[in-house]
């Protein structure tokens, strides 16, 4: 009973103190002294309020209820911030082309219609005004071959996913089931390249592709992506979990490495392969820097780069068409994500075990 009262008191005091100090800091113009100082004070106040709330949720009877209500409120608010713009995107894509950005409370694609009844009284009602033709306009744009971009992206992505799975699973097999001198060294070369090969490889890879004569061809879009150190790492982690007795038994029965790899390891690693494939798919589909640098003719662009060109060529003016284009780029990603999301969870968790 005493702890309950103490918690009630402490929690309330913490919340009030936090709110009070924050209000005073803003009210008396701490921001004019230093924005950073104000930020620091506000963060401390926020922590005080949060710990006050946490204390209150431990009070019996109303505590658990408070916790549930606040959790749902926080989760809903965050979802609104993250998904709100995407819902907005869908709604704006149905507005009449070239219409300016409406105020937020007029986002719904509707028009008001005035009707007169028999006695001449005027009624105003709203009815949906959906401009699906925006999708037609974008897909058949005379200046930008969006369907070509789509097919390019599809071809490049599928090639990368298939080749990457073959190449990286083979490497993971070699690095997990077979022993050779310097195996650790080779493995750490893969892992190290994951950390450091970023901006620095841009220019050399461009020059290498140019010397192969591959610039502005599918080779330049596909070959740099057909192997991935992350996938090698991920698949190796997962292959190590498969009992080694299976290999031994197979070898006694006269099976070679190829048989063990294709008949034992691969079928037992479907989940890991799906995970690696999912990452390869999203990596390739949303790659921006690569296609931007390695291609320059419109016919070789992918959706990501095409969309950025679209954004520039239509300027800031035509938001409905821009949003339509953005949605066309996003739709396949969302659909694949809904089917493959459990593989993401698995992959991210496996990737962090070092």
């Amino acid at each position: 009973m005493i702890t309950t009262l103490a918690r009630l008191r402490d929690g309330t005091l913490l919340i009030l103190a936090g709110l009070g100090v924050a209000y005073a800091a803003v009210r008396f113009g701490l921001a004019s002294t230093s924005g950073w100082l104000l930020g620091l004070v506000l963060v401390v106040c926020l922590l005080a309020v949060i710990s006050g709330i946490a204390t209150l949720t431990e009070v019996p009877v109303f505590g658990p209820f408070l916790r549930i209500v606040l959790s749902y409120a926080a989760m809903t608010a965050l979802a609104a911030i993250l998904i709100g713009p995407m819902v907005w995107m869908l709604l704006i894509s149905l507005h009449p082309p070239k219409s300016p950005i409406p105020p937020l409370n007029e986002t719904l694609p509707v028009t008001s219609v005035e009707t007169k009844d028999a006695r001449g009284k005027v009624y105003t009602s709203v009815k949906p005004d959906l401009h699906w033709e925006n999708y037609d306009t974008v897909l058949n744009s005379p200046t930008l071959p969006v369907r070509r971009f789509f097919l390019n992206t599809l071809f490049v992505t599928v090639s990368i996913v298939v080749l990457q799975l073959l190449i990286t699973s083979a490497a993971a097999y070699g690095l997990s089931r077979l022993r050779f001198k310097s195996r650790e060294l080779v493995f750490w070369m893969f892992v190290g390249s994951m950390m450091f090969a970023g901006t620095v490889t841009q220019i050399p890879v461009y020059l290498i592709l140019r010397s192969f004569g591959w610039l502005d061809t599918y080779w330049a879009l596909i070959v740099p992506g057909i192997s991935s150190s992350f996938a090698v790492f991920l698949l190796r982690q997962s292959f190590l979990q498969i009992p080694f007795e299976l290999d031994e038994a197979a070898r006694i029965d006269g099976a070679g490495d190829w048989t063990i790899y294709s008949k034992i390891i691969m079928p037992l690693s479907k989940a890991a392969l799906a995970t690696a494939g999912t990452f390869a798919f999203f990596g390739a589909w949303t790659d921006f820097m690569g296609p931007l640098i390695y291609t320059n003719s419109t016919e070789m662009r992918t959706l990501e780069v095409g969309l950025s060109v679209f954004k520039n060529s239509y300027g800031g003016g035509n938001w409905p068409l821009q949003m339509t284009a953005a949605l066309i780029v996003m739709a396949p990603l969302l659909i694949v994500f809904l089917f493959a999301q459990r593989f993401f969870v698995k992959g991210i968790q496996l990737g962090s075990i070092k």
């Binding site: 390249s193 220019i203 949303t286 959706l303 994500f337």
Partner: protein, 298 residues
């Protein structure tokens, strides 16, 4: 362990590894060496072969105030976005780790921005930050703060706008990592704490946070490396402006290489960036090692 029973078959092993290893050589390891080589030349991307200038590109870059401005912007961006992003990721993980109806739906929703195309997200957030009818200004108006701040074109706010966007849209992977870390904390610790009557706040600081240290470290290292190489949002939303206040190194090098075509100079700059990232990462590992020593001593 498996080490004992794996077959010792170097030829077969190299047969399996070769394709990925050749790819690693051609597209990661050789390019790093090649970048070092190029950085010693004064070279134009289109006009072709340049002339050997030794360390000139490095001396030039180290004396170039624009480059240091970009470096400082990247450091600012990392210092702002990494802690905020991590705190948000952890807070959201704690939130969706509760046994509540429908949390899995929220987890899915929070992950969606991380898989969405970066261009589409950038286009959306350009709108979110618009001075007139933009989402932020509208919501501020509802709260009684009427402004028409052009967040992306404002010296004070442009960097914060990028940070907020990255921190919010990057919640997904961090949330999943922290969730995995939370699951791995033995429940006995929490039982003992609640028997002792420890408050939730205290339990968080004394049990949850220390037990999450490995996860926190991993998230910190990977998001710092990512933050130092930021490119796409800057390219699409601010073009480094206003007045170079969001000109981060990733974008600066991009411009040097692909707009100015100063290949050698850009290679030198990318190498300096690589060195800086390596030093930061090593520093973080050192820090982590010291911390772990502190734990075992206490």
């Amino acid at each position: 362990m498996g080490e004992r029973v794996t077959a010792r078959r170097p030829k077969a092993a190299w047969f399996f590894i070769a394709p990925a290893f050749v790819h690693l050589l051609v597209f990661a390891l050789i390019p790093i060496g090649y970048a070092l080589y190029i950085s010693l030349f004064k070279m134009h991307l289109v006009k072709g072969e340049g002339k050997f200038v030794g360390g000139f590109n490095y001396r030039y870059t180290l004396a170039d105030s624009d480059f240091w401005n970009a470096m400082w912007n990247s450091a600012r961006y990392a210092l702002m976005s990494v802690p905020i992003g991590m705190a948000l990721g952890l807070a959201v993980a704690l939130l969706v780790n509760q046994k509540l109806r429908g949390v899995t739906i929220f987890r899915t929703l929070y992950y969606i921005p991380s898989i969405a195309s970066s261009i589409a997200i950038a286009m959306l957030w350009i709108y979110v930050y618009l001075p007139q009818n933009g989402m932020v200004n509208t919501v501020l108006g509802w709260l009684g703060i009427t402004t028409q701040t052009d967040f992306l074109n404002n010296m004070t706010w442009a960097m914060w706008a990028l940070v907020a966007m990255a921190a919010l849209n990057g919640i997904g992977p961090k949330m999943i990592l922290f969730l995995a870390g939370l699951v791995n904390i033995p429940p006995e610790l929490y039982e003992a704490a609640s028997l002792d009557g420890a408050s939730r706040t205290r339990t968080f600081w004394r049990i949850t946070l220390p037990m999450l240290a490995p996860t926190t470290f991993f998230v910190m290292v990977t998001s710092t490396i990512g933050a130092m190489q930021l490119f796409a949002p800057v390219y699409l939303m601010t073009k480094g402006g206003p007045e170079g206040s969001t000109d981060v190194v990733g974008y600066h090098i991009y411009r040097e290489a692909w707009v100015q075509f100063n290949t050698g100079l850009a290679a030198a700059q990318s190498f300096i960036l690589l060195a800086v990232i390596a030093v930061i990462t090593l520093g973080q590992f050192k820090l982590q090692a010291n911390q772990l020593r502190g734990y075992s001593a206490s």
